[in-house]
Amino acid sequence: MTRIPERLKVSPFFAFYLVQAIQIGVGILGFQRLLTKAAGNDAWISILFAGIGVHVIIWMTYKILDKQEGDITDVHKILFGKWIGAALSLLLIMYLSLLSITILRTYIEVVQVWIFPGIRISLFSASILIIVFYVVNGGLRTVTGMAVLGVILPAYLLFSLFYPLKYSFFENLLPIFDHSILEILQSTKQVTLSILGFETLLFYYPFLKEARKSQKWAHLGSASTIFVYLAVMVVSTAYFSEEQLMRNIWATLTMLKIVELPFVERVEYVAISSWLFVILPNICLAIWAASRGLKRILNKKQRPMVVLLLIFVCVVSCTLRTREQVDMLNNYTAQIGFFLIYGYIPFLFLFSTVYYRIKGRKST
């Protein structure tokens, strides 16, 4: 385990921002459709279920990492040996690159659909990725700073939730538990894409000062994410009819159309623009984590790894042209992410618990 110098670490308190910033991303702009398809007006319950699930997974993640006081590459190395461990870490890194491609490309998709139909995808993604490089180049402390900005600056958009209330019909939520548990669980699975990203904790854990103390902040961050999703889901269920929600790809953005201000008409334009603040830390954190992982398993310098990853992300995001491809990308990422957080992390948790129990018995 390499010791991280104190001056590069961040306070445990920032785990709140790091977890929340990466969880809220492009997903929130239009997560309602798939949830409603599965669970109708009970979709908000599935968000609560997902919240419980995430908290359990975060708890497991901390239990895995606390034993090592290192990052996931150390855990893999100790549990599975050098080669299998490195391969597993590499898979995780590929997943993180996929995640950043998904975030970037979906955001560009939103910009294309809502503001600039003819935007040059290559140029635009390259500009965003150059900023990402600049941020990641500053190390985790700068990435954390971006995460703080990404949480605080767009927070004003929460106020826009008050405008649709005037036209809302809360009876839409009734009857509660109209759907079977199975349907709600299916809907819970659809929440996954929206809450992905906190797995980066596996990489930045050793960069937190008194990492154990950061656990409560991570839980709080994730709880606030769930709260935001819940609020948006409840308001949109009340605002739209079920039919409308099932057909609307960007329900949150559509809801913003109702906001009326004396000096701005179409608030969703402002919202989409400032949403860049939200997705920037997402990509930065994912790329940082991926490059950090590459550095650890390949023993290379991190900067060239960042450049490599960014070029890869840029190329892939440019090759995805159509709406269907972006949708497919989202589905794949959601599937893999679902497997990762509900399959792999519990497995790792059990494996490491058993491993340490056996090891402990041997030593005594």
């Binding site: 306070s11 700073g145 971006m146």
Partner: protein, 495 residues
């Protein structure tokens, strides 16, 4: 005399090289070389007449020399301290240009002495001009190091105020003083700053602004990372907060570090006014900085791409004013912004008396005429003028210049990608500022890294009773300014 001197030089080789040194110095016409051959003891006196105070020579040196019997009497009789015995010619070459007088007795084996008699021409202490405040002290630093140190020391008459002098610059021989309060200022900060000052390798230091740029953490940044001030009161209070100050000889500005973004946009007057007023003005100032950077880019973005953003009543006004304009918004905006920059620059370069016409030419002729000619819309004219006005509210001059140039990249991004472009440019700015440090301490503190205790003096300047601790940002050794009184006692009505 000369022969005797040359005889002596055979015994002492240093004497002849001193003669050579004097010959070199004689090449300057303001160098005086005077031989007095009669009297008790014959002597030679030489100095640079331009840098030596003649009064000192006539009152404090010459009368005593005439009365002298022996060379060794000199040090006892002449009422000036710091008399240096010359041991090698290098002393002469070094000290004479600094305002020393060289006295040499041809009849003795002694190589002579150097007596300081520096002319000290300086202006008197004047009210601050750049950082003027209506209330508060009306003193500002001047171009003399000793006076500046005096101005600070009289505000902090304590033994713990340390003044450490360093001389830098092969040509300018600039003397600098590093000021800090022992037991309050962080030792690490002091060492960092000393190390940076020692590392300076520059021949002629023109002003303290040179130093502030040379020792900046990131020289590629447009932001000033060391605060400069001309107010001794601000310097003294900064020292009391655990900061460090550098005073540079021949410069009327002190440098203060470590500094933060908030400090760059606050004035000393913020502490002189009632805290409500001070906080209000501070918030207005911050808003005006954001306004001055963002307003023209937003105009360009909306009028190039997002007409939908404008409410329909406002749209009518905008369209009427832009109907006859042949230029795209970006050119229109660049034209007006550059005009304002031109006016500002011309006003700064011209002598005051001629400068007055600039206001008339710029404000009335160019502004009104370009609207009438249909080159720009009057809505944009108002915006640009307001933005210029807003940018003048930045209290530190160096920071104001940074704000001035920041809006141009924003304009270009706004032209390229509308609102998204503005956010993109803002992200670059944010990412840059997050990485900035001042003497190794984060520049955006207390926002990031978030330090709740330091937030008391940011948007709102809390009353002094709440500012019981020194800012964490300076990592002061002594954290407590005063013990806050027990606030628990709440008296009831009429008690």
């Amino acid at each position: 005399m000369i022969r005797r001197g040359s005889n002596k030089s055979k015994e002492n080789p240093q004497a002849s090289s001193i003669r050579e040194a004097l010959e070199t110095l004689k090449k300057s016409t303001d160098f005086v070389f005077y031989k007095k051959e009669r009297g008790n003891v014959p002597y030679v006196i030489s100095y640079f007449s331009s840098i030596v105070n003649a009064e000192i020579i006539h009152k404090d040196i010459l009368p005593y020399i005439q009365e002298m019997q022996q060379v060794k009497d000199l040090k006892e009789k002449v009422p000036i301290e710091e008399i240096i015995d010359v041991t090698q010619p290098k002393d002469l070459l070094e000290k004479l240009p600094l305002g020393y007088v060289y006295i040499y007795f041809p009849e003795s084996a002694h190589l002579g002495v150097l007596i300081p008699a520096k002319k000290d021409e300086k202006r008197s202490i004047a009210p601050p001009e750049v950082e003027f405040s209506v209330v508060g002290p009306k003193e500002s630093f001047i171009e003399s190091l000793d006076t500046n140190i005096y101005l600070v020391r009289k505000r902090l008459p304590i033994e713990n105020l340390r003044v450490e002098k360093i001389t830098i610059g092969d040509l300018s021989n600039t003397e600098m003083a590093l000021l800090y309060i022992e037991d309050i200022a962080d030792k690490e900060n002091v060492n960092t700053l000393k190390q940076r000052l020692d590392d300076i390798d520059f021949d002629a230091i023109g002003d303290s602004a040179y130093i502030s740029q040379i020792i900046a953490d990131n020289q590629r940044s447009p932001f000033p990372q060391i605060l400069d001030t001309e107010r001794p009161d601000r310097t003294a209070t900064a020292l009391a907060e655990g900061k460090l100050a550098i005073l540079v000889d021949r410069s009327p500005h002190a440098l203060i570090g470590p500094t933060t973004f908030i400090e760059s946009i606050s004035t000393f007057e913020d502490y002189l006014l009632n805290w409500y007023a001070a906080s209000f003005i501070r918030i207005v100032r911050m808003a005006s900085i954001a306004f001055s950077i963002l307003i023209t880019p937003i105009y360009v973005a909306t009028l190039t791409y997002h007409y939908e953003l404008i409410p329909k009543d406002l749209l009518a006004t905008l369209i009427t004013s832009r109907r006859v304009i042949p230029l795209p918004p970006i050119l229109e905006a660049l034209f007006l912004e550059l005009t304002i920059e031109l006016l500002r620059e011309a006003g700064a370069r011209l002598p005051t008396k001629v400068g007055q016409t600039i206001g008339i030419v710029g404000g009335i002729v160019i502004g009104t005429a370009s609207v009438e000619a249909g080159l720009t819309s009057n809505v944009l004219l108002i915006m640009v003028a307001l933005a210029a006005l807003a940018s003048f509210t930045t209290p530190t001059y160096q920071f104001g210049n940074t704000i001035r140039i920041l809006r141009f990249p924003f304009l270009l991004f706004a032209h390229a990608w509308g609102m998204v472009g503005i956010v993109l440019a803002f992200s670059v700015l944010a990412a840059h500022m997050l990485q900035l440090t001042s003497l190794g301490r984060p520049y955006l503190e207390p926002f990031y890294p978030t330090r709740v205790r330091d937030l008391k003096d940011t948007f709102i300047r809390m009353p002094f009773s709440k500012l019981s601790r020194r800012p964490v940002h300076n990592q002061p050794d002594d954290k407590v300014r005063f013990k806050p009184k027990d606030k628990r006692i709440h008296r009831d009505i009429d008690e």
